[in-house]
Amino acid sequence: METISKAIKKKDHDSKISGQALYADDYVMNGMLYGRLLGSSKARARITAIIIPDLPEGYLVVDKYDVPGTNRVQIIQDDTPVFAEETVEFVGDPILMVVGPEYNKVESILENIVVLYEELVPTFNMRKADTVFFDYHYAKGDFDKAQDEADHIFEETFQTGHQEHAYLETQGIIAYPHAGRMVIRGSMQCPYYVHTAVTKALGYDARNVQVIQETTGGGFGGKEDFPSILACQTAAAALKTNRPVKVIFNRREDMAFTSKRHPSVCTYKVAVKDNMITGMGIDLILNGGAYTTHSSVVLQRALISSSGVYKIDNLRVAGRAVKTNMVPSGAYRGFGSPQTIFALEMMMDHVARKLGTESLEFKEKHMVKQGDTTATSGKHHFHVPLPEMIQRINELTDYPAKRKRYSRQSGRYRRGMGLALSFHGCGFTGSAEGEHIKPVVRIRKAADDQVEILTGNTDMGQGLKTTFCKIVGETLGIPFEQVLIENPDTDRVPDSGPTVASRSIMIVGSLLQQAAEKLRQIWQTGEEQIVEEHYVEPKFIIPFDLERFRGDAYPTYSWAVNAVEVEIDTLTAETRILGAWGIYDVGVPIDLNIIQGQMQGGLLQGIGYAAMEKIDYNAQGIIRNNNFSDYSIPTAMDVPNLVTEVINNPYTHGPYGAKGAGELSFAGAAPAYVEALENALGVDLNKVPFTMEDTMGVLREVHHHD
């Protein structure tokens, strides 16, 4: 273990454990008004009239006419309206906001507003969607030739569902005008994204918008794009009323009307010759929901990750993100790759079974190693530690023996064991870091020799305040306590890019290490000193061409091996998870406790995705289970003892050898879980979530055929 990996007490521990940390809803300002949104009750309709009752004094309605700049939220594109224009595109599409001094009165006004609609035919089925937001494809080698020469061709389709982030703190924003400027405070991952969006919506000069992140109660991608939307709406209200306006979503609003993981349908066509896969044809549809938000980049990552950890010489990959009249899908831990990795791992498992070989052995025969080309004809520049990671998981779980034993069972209780190999491409896809983000960091040493880190990156629980301070403290050779970091405020911090894509440590942490090294060299005790550092793309990277999906999509990859063991009661279909394991390569952990927290937390979210989390839409496009009673996330009773370990595999271009971590832990859980179910039930399965009801369906079918 490296010295830096030794866990220390987290920077934000004291304020959080004592309940003193202030989250958006904990702020009350003088003259503050409360806002609530009125969302569409129709999935697709033209608004013909809005009938607003007489409003009591001090209460106002804010809508598209109150957005002084552009009534659009700048995300990647700007098709998301701040407030609905002529039409509404999903149930919950925000039409207007009611603001006033008393929350209960705001709520009752909202209930008395009548919106008249001319209903249009909505689209819910992504396979029948006629609006294609994004359409990408790429190839490597010659898949047609591989098919012509194949001994076997296998084809199968896989499905994945929506997933709700279920961060414990709901979305919340406060906006207030101050000295001719607009100030935004709230729960968010990316203050500079919010800054860009609010600047455009208000039509302000960028200097007149200030965004401050407050302590954020979880994000997982769910506070990547959505806070930009809510901030534009709240800012419009603050401008109109000339007062502070606070909007805090209740849980039901949050679950029904904010972004989710993209559902997918993915078809794999696999050519096999001499028991080896020679080619894959992959076709993916992502359900983007009503607006584009982050669908383009989610689709890119999904497609680039679609052949996973395997070396496939002939690839033909195509995918579309389509429009449906459902809540816009957005960023969620893994960002598209969990969908294709699920399909891929299941496909590998199914092909192995059809060829009469053991699943893991078959996967091992196809694994990439250092020097191999990637799916996009880039290069795996660094050591791929999968063999030693597989060896370790076999030691921990006795996987091969159990897998074999479980394939021949009788009796009421049947066990199963599944194993998945996965990776996560670290950082933004392609050349975005150098071309669009251009991150900048600053370190300021005060005259009292306290050192402050200035970046736009946020701690939403993942431990960034602690890891950043450790990197800077270690490099400067000063105690951790001497390094300070506050929640970012765009008036004080440079734009070091968003807190997404498992990039913060690898990219921003690296810049901080360089800045700290510079400061160390020029350190003058008792002087105020400022060091700034700008991103430069590492030289080894093969430039990525997004038009052709060619080159290094990522500088490096983090690797994961996951295993899950289950026991199914074939009478009731109740499925117990006996164990869940993860061996992870994140380079060098900057803090072992933090990495363990990321690995275990992500693994359990993945188990939830696989086994129980199902968004239930009705025929009108309304999410029926918009609460924690009906949309279950794992509780402490649903977890086995999660066993997670990290290996040491220093990344030469990351700070102290670290690379991306936060998203890595997620993707392997679903295929490992479903493979375990297959092992127990003796059938091929092809979707997540795979709930107990689904298992009951399989058991009935099997029983019927018996």
Binding site: A7, K9, K10, D12, H13, D14, S15, K16, I17, S18, G19, Q20, A21, L22, Y23, D25, D26, H165, A166, Y167, L168, E169, T170, T215, T216, G217, G218, F220, N250, R251, M460, G461, Q462, G463, D591, N593, I594, Q596, G597, Q600, G601, G602, L603, L604, Q605, N627, F628, S629, I633, P634, T635, A636, M637, V639, N641, L642
Partner: protein
């Protein structure tokens, strides 16, 4: 007017009897350590100790607690037992986003008050009404186990 003991002090609330205790604590007594995660009794972020038992304050009507004792994180954090839990949670990095933590700490207290040497399964059951989306619960379960060991005699 309902009077009750709040963190050791007698208080009187002027709110209506059907007002949820959560709102009374946050809005009238400015105890912002009591968090609202769902407002329907499912997540445990608003948990308080009510007459020695863990209760979701969003589900408790003010009118039902006349004469009761309520402890929130603001009161509990001054105790020696809190210090032991604080150190145990810190040692394994069990605090991530922090939103579930005030409720989780009070749940930890209730587990240990009932049984100073709980098994892993008893700890899991004891925090099963407190949702956490960050940690996977392992670190929290471990922290409560550590506190049980380190706090011998306190519970």
């Amino acid at each position: 007017m309902i009077s009750f003991m709040l963190n050791g002090t007698k208080v009187v609330s002027t709110a209506r009897a059907n007002e949820p205790l959560l709102n009374v604590l946050r809005n009238e007594f400015h105890l912002s350590g009591v968090k609202c995660g769902c407002n329907e009794g499912e997540c445990g972020a608003c948990a308080v100790i009510l007459d020695g038992r863990l209760a979701n304050s969003c589900m408790v009507a003010l009118g039902s607690i006349q004469g009761s004792k309520v402890i929130t994180i603001e009161g509990y954090r001054t105790t020696e037992r809190f210090t032991v839990l604080d150190m145990a949670y810190a040692s394994v990095g069990a605090v991530q986003c922090g939103f579930c933590i005030p409720g989780m700490i009070l749940a930890s207290e209730c587990i240990l008050a009932k049984n100073p040497n709980p098994t892993r399964a008893e700890i899991q059951a004891g925090i099963s009404g407190n949702l956490c989306r960050c940690t996977g619960y392992n670190a929290i379960v471990a922290a409560i186990g550590i506190a049980a060991k380190e706090g011998q005699g306190l519970w």
